[in-house]
Subunit: 119 residues, 2 copies
DNA sequence: TATAAATACAACCATTTGGTTGTGCAAACT
DNA sequence: AGTTTGCACAACCAAATGGTTGTATTTATA
């Protein structure tokens, strides 16, 4: 966890080693997430057309699971993976916040310019 | 670059080593981006309250620059950094696409259920 | 029952990541 | 002119990342 004060606000960042941002950082994992967003697949199915050993795929699956981006259920000898798309909410929220701060910047500038004009 | 066929679509993924997803993968870099979204800062200012050596900060700045998430301009002895928030569009697009595929999944299921009901 | 399929577990490896310290150098302030 | 400030560059380091191969185990299928 990171805590600091910035712009008169107490900023608290939960820094889990495994989070959604880390899940989507790797291009292969992004492909896997999009494959799974069409429906659940087992590890072998996920690996189709991904030029990589099954073990490599399994490692990415493991990371995605640890990040909470997918859930896994045993089904006989298969390991069925399902995307937890709602976890992407966190990413959307962060991006939205950044954009908000960005636009506020220009609003402040606008207000300042208007104030100056009045005088 | 990764090219493969999935669900009757030719899927092309540009895999630059440095992309926006990598930029926002690290919690410290996310803090830096949000600091910069309030306005331009030099490296020393960015480092304030981030319990880390200036060199560590500089490395993050370098990565953010390589990812195209920030632009830098020399101003005397200062290196002024500015966020390129529009680059976050790429993240939004990817998340939106994933969500779309996700919801289509249920729409398809709905259609199937309705078809079955009719008979 | 033998075989194939799906996956888990482990060891290994090169590269990257995320930090550190130390040195040097030009710009700006006193 | 001397000192501080802002930063670049380099070397170093432990840990994580993203891949590999080999072996074992369980579950289906022919």
């Amino acid at each position: 966890m990171v805590v600091f004060i910035f712009d008169n606000h107490l900023v608290v960042f939960m820094v889990e080693r495994r989070d959604v941002f880390q899940a989507i950082a790797d291009p292969t994992r992004r492909i896997i997430i999009q494959k799974l967003s069409r429906g659940p697949l087992n590890i072998a199915q996920i690996g189709v057309d991904l030029e990589m050993s099954r073990q490599a795929i399994a490692k990415h699956i493991k990371i995605l699971n640890e990040c909470g981006m997918i859930s896994m259920t045993q089904k006989g000898r298969e390991q069925v993976c399902e995307a937890r798309i709602e976890r992407l909410e966190e990413v959307m929220d962060w991006v939205a916040k950044s954009r908000e701060l960005w636009s506020q910047r220009f609003e402040k500038l606008d207000r300042f310019l208007n104030e100056t004009k009045k005088r």
